[in-house]
Assembly symmetry: C2
């Protein structure tokens, strides 16, 4: 058994939990998907909760890479960068048939009341996402494309919240419309400085 | 066994599923809470999914009573009525220690990809909630207190989505701040016609 086995388990678990939730994801299914030896789970993880903490960090690392990719794009205004980020997810969810939603929001909804360690870790990760957005909102204000009177931190948290609910509605409506409404109400109506 | 037993089971199941989710709610725990005879579950319900459909309708009936109560209040403008509705929930969640969230959003998040009957029923119930809000938004536009250029249906759906995400963030932050941000960004900044 190697570090590679642990990584494969986290990756497989992240994918399965994203689709089925914390409680819905079976350990045997995860071991099978990771081609990990039967019984090896508790060699790497103290509990399913401990495993889920590793999964939250795995998603956070992926989010961070994605955020860096959007920050590194050439020739975009701060708002085009931030909007492009949500539009990229629109394509991802179209490919997924409007299933799954956000792994952070899903686990927050399911586990925030049932596991204090997961609640605290998710809260921190959601703070990180809000900070990424806040920085782009601030830059947009400096560039004159975002209303100057908005509090950038509050606005970032509202965007995160509205996005989470948008993905719930997307899952239940099985349609891109909630994402289109999100983009319109947040970027066009709330954020944009009228020309 | 009587109709009363079935009602007690739905009520107990609604409360337990609200806290623990569909998968997290154990049938034995529900039977115990409802003081229902062991083994009586499948007398009333074909499956846990069938039971959850009854729970969705139970919550919808409660929502409808609540909505009627807010519609019947004297001397409020349409927006004061709608805002009062969300503010009422702010108090409810403060009493609950910012736990649980919305039973429709929770089940949508957990089950929309796992049960087509639940997805379809929740979609319909969310449509009903959006219609209640749309009617108030339209009345607010007629009264001149909501921006006339907003599409009332899209706005209602965006409110529903933003509220669902707000409750996820409330659960994970264990704080009323997300609700305060929701009220500010939707009512004050998005909906209100500038004076």
């Amino acid at each position: 058994m190697s570090e590679r086995t642990r990584e494969r388990m986290v990756k497989a678990g992240a994918e399965i939990m994203h689709r089925k939730g914390f409680l819905g994801a079976g350990l045997q299914e995860i071991l099978d998907a990771a081609e990990a030896p039967r019984g090896s789970f508790y060699h790497y993880f103290k509990s399913k909760e401990d495993f889920a903490l590793a999964i939250v960090d795995y998603h956070a690392a992926n989010f961070s890479s994605l955020a860096q990719r959007f920050l590194a794009k050439d020739g975009l205004t701060p708002m085009a960068r931030l909007r492009g980020f949500f539009e990229w997810f629109r394509e991802v969810y179209a490919e997924k048939g409007y299933t799954c939603g956000c792994p952070f929001g899903n686990m927050a909804q399911e586990m925030a009341d049932l596991s204090e360690p997961l609640r605290a870790r998710l809260n921190k990760r959601i703070d990180d996402i809000a900070t990424f957005m806040q920085n782009l909102i601030k830059a947009g204000q400096e560039a004159g494309e975002v209303k100057a009177e908005l509090d950038s931190q509050e606005t970032a948290y509202f965007l995160v919240a509205a996005w989470q609910g948008t993905l719930i509605r997307m899952k239940v409506a099985k349609s891109p419309e909630p994402i289109d409404e999100f983009l319109k109400f947040t970027f066009d109506l709330l954020l944009a400085e009228p020309e």
